[in-house]
Symmetry: C2
Subunit: 441 residues, 2 copies
């Protein structure tokens, strides 16, 4: 049997602890399946406290992650600390330069430095694996990088943030407001004390940036992603969507257009009958549409210590099964040096249907004014719902909901701007994009 | 760049033709992603006709697949002929003995000879890849073999035959009889002229046998699978199932029990709200429940030339990216020599709920007799529906539908046997197993 594969783990939070336990508990299985032992030989964490939920007594302790990353005592550096700069970036860079394989679950880090790191890995003949960085336990990275090698991808979209999906599911099922739902999610541990990163869509954005590079062979361009979180979604939107046969999901979408690649993260209306509309709670789902295979969908746990550790351990096992100097699975699907520059398809050219919800001042001619502003932009309407709500008969405004046929973001923006400045509205109009699903080559 | 990887293709039917075209069309992408060229250097097929839908003018022609399989002109032997013996088996065996990598989509062949071939591959330091053999374009083999290395699998189940699922979907949506539905499916090309292999469940059985070995590290035991096709499913069953909140699917299920591994293929009632109940038409879906990652579901095209060729090309790309003599990804997830003997969990100990539909002679005491036979076997009923159908008021029998609480196959069989011999029934009783879904470690 070959020498043991020596693992250095940086970060002993939920995932790090789960990983150390997993490698312990499955020692025999991993030896059998990988043909060699995988053993944690070194660790580092924020503080060297002794009461941990995993046994690190046989591992060498490092105060400094960079020292661990470059230690002669490890073959694989597993970065589970988080952060897109500082010690996470420094230690991964140092590990790769020292010829170590790297496994990380850190999407923010890779969204920023992924191309640099992939190049370093290739120069040094080592592997950079990051299955756990996108959609937790779902093997979407391996699928796109390896199984779909002969495919050209057309579009990838998915629910990649469990907190947002949990909240939208509860808002849909229970009619809760965003604020009430957030508070309950925080109490139950499904949302962080500072939820901005999740509900603002930043987490989904980092994951999408990686999928875009894998899908289209382009350099990672996280700063070019159109971003809109779920904070403005109201129970009225969700109810109106449901009435019209839609569910609202926070999707990350990346797709090829005539002018480049469109990357966007925003609340999206999807048909209730679509498979992705059925994904409730913290579950994640990713759909890949590609020219040869057609449509694949993968669903599973997007977070949690065990599911994430399962993905990290899969990455480690891939390294254990391989042999140094004989790696030809490029981290980003093709060699990092041949990734092409990202060409942005601008959001204003985005085409699709739109859901518009606005409160109209209750004066004669208000609706006619709205309708003519839409017509000015060549926007035709698929449906209009205008009804006074039972409990608001004395209100001086009435809600109007419109679904447009396919149009452009530019046209919708112009129409809404004109409508707004005409002074017929009470409050701001709500606009939610409708995603056309289903795949036909 | 490394030498080209030379591919020999045996079989130029739908999949073989699609593969040759795919490797042609994606030549540049494959070179970039694999770091070397993949080129079809040799072919064989049933007849050497010239009017093919793919260009094989640069490939050497072989009349005999065994000669192709052992030719010095190839590195990878791709077997797409079909058949579980004869030239398919002989040529794969010869290829492995000659040190060639083998890629095949032939589930029947592997269900019979998979362990032997996996051992040969390992002895000869070559790869045996078969992603296309199960669920077409869905990367379930790679996922189970590589991504889930640290997991112990608990249960795998799936819709793995497009013909059956297409038929059940149409029967559900349109109330068609099995016979009418089959005829239409045949006219549309979704079912073979001789449909036995599909509708009898044999195709699903072969696929399940491979998943069992991957899931539990056991030798392939296709002969130990309980098999029941969809030929006896009637519109009455489908309608009654729907009324009770269920959909009927042909599932292959493999799961660990207290006494061994239970493998079964049969029509199964699944809750309408379950994700797998939403899988309609020819689409396939596989669900893996494992101790670390939890529940993963993958859906996509289970057949078709392009989707299957995509999976075959992924297998070829894996070989192109690797280097000879440095392979440590065992075909069946762990080395074939260490696969454990299959220990069968007998069907009579299967536990679950049951749907029973029978026609009761319309005499006083008939139902009481049925109920007491169930009670004798300690079977308790969750629901009973007894109603005279509108259009059968003059009939001398009435349909009774029962859903049982969890019980054993042995108890149900005994109860139905006793009920049958009591003479209260008109015709044979129908029995459909209910699968408990949802996963909780």
């Amino acid at each position: 049997m070959s020498n043991p594969l020596r693992i250095g783990v940086a970060g002993l939070g939920t995932v790090g602890t789960a990983l150390v336990n997993l490698l312990d508990n499955k020692r025999a299985e991993l030896i059998e399946r990988c043909g060699r032992e995988t053993v944690v030989t070194a660790v580092t964490a924020r503080s060297q406290r002794t009461n941990r939920d995993c046994d690190i007594s046989n591992a060498q302790w490092f105060d400094n992650p960079v020292d661990l990353a470059t230690s002669d005592n490890i073959d694989v550096y597993v970065e589970l600390m988080g952060g897109d700069e500082g010690v996470a970036a420094d230690s991964v860079r140092a590990a790769l330069n020292a010829g170590k394989h790297v496994v990380t679950a850190n999407k923010a880090l890779l969204a920023k430095h992924g191309v640099e790191f992939a190049k370093l890995a290739e120069e040094n003949g080592t592997l950079l694996n990051f299955e756990a960085a996108v959609a937790g336990g779902i093997p979407i990275i391996k699928t796109m990088r390896e199984s779909l090698t002969s495919n050209n991808v057309i579009r990838v979209y998915g629910i990649m943030n469990g907190t947002c999906n949990y909240m939208l599911t509860r808002m849909e099922e229970e009619g809760l407001s965003f604020e009430d739902c957030l508070q309950q999610a925080q109490e139950l541990g499904y949302a962080e004390a500072d939820p901005t990163f999740d509900v603002g869509g930043h987490d989904t954005m980092h994951k999408l940036a990686l999928l875009t590079s894998l899908a289209f062979g382009t350099e990672i361009a996280v700063d070019e992603i159109y971003l809109e979180g779920i904070t403005k979604i109201t129970p009225e939107d969700i109810e109106a969507a449901k009435d019209l046969g839609y569910s609202i999901k926070l999707l990350g979408v990346t797709q090829k257009t005539d002018t480049g690649i469109e990357q966007r993260v925003h609340p999206t209306m999807v048909p209730l009958a679509a498979p992705i509309a059925q994904i409730g709670g913290v579950t994640n789902a990713v759909v890949v549409e590609a020219d040869v295979v057609g449509e694949l969908m993968m669903t599973g746990p997007g977070a949690g210590g065990d599911a994430t550790a399962s993905a990290v351990a899969g990455d480690i096992a891939d390294i254990a099964k391989s042999r140094p100097g004989h790696q030809h699975v490029p981290s980003l699907g093709k060699p990092a040096v041949s990734l092409t520059p990202y060409v942005k398809s601008r959001m204003r050219t985005h085409r699709g249907g739109y859901f518009i919800r606005l409160n109209l001042n209750d004066k004669a001619g208000s609706f006619a004014a709205i309708a003519s502003r839409m017509a000015e932009q060549d926007i035709s309407l698929e449906s209009i719902v205008q009804r006074r709500e039972a409990n608001s008969q004395n209100s001086d405004s009435q809600p109007v909901i419109m679904i447009t046929h396919d149009t452009t973001e530019e046209a919708i923006s112009a129409a809404l701007k004109a409508i707004n400045s005409d002074g017929h509205l009470k409050g701001d109009p709500q606009m939610i994009r409708i995603e056309k699903l289903g795949f036909d080559i």
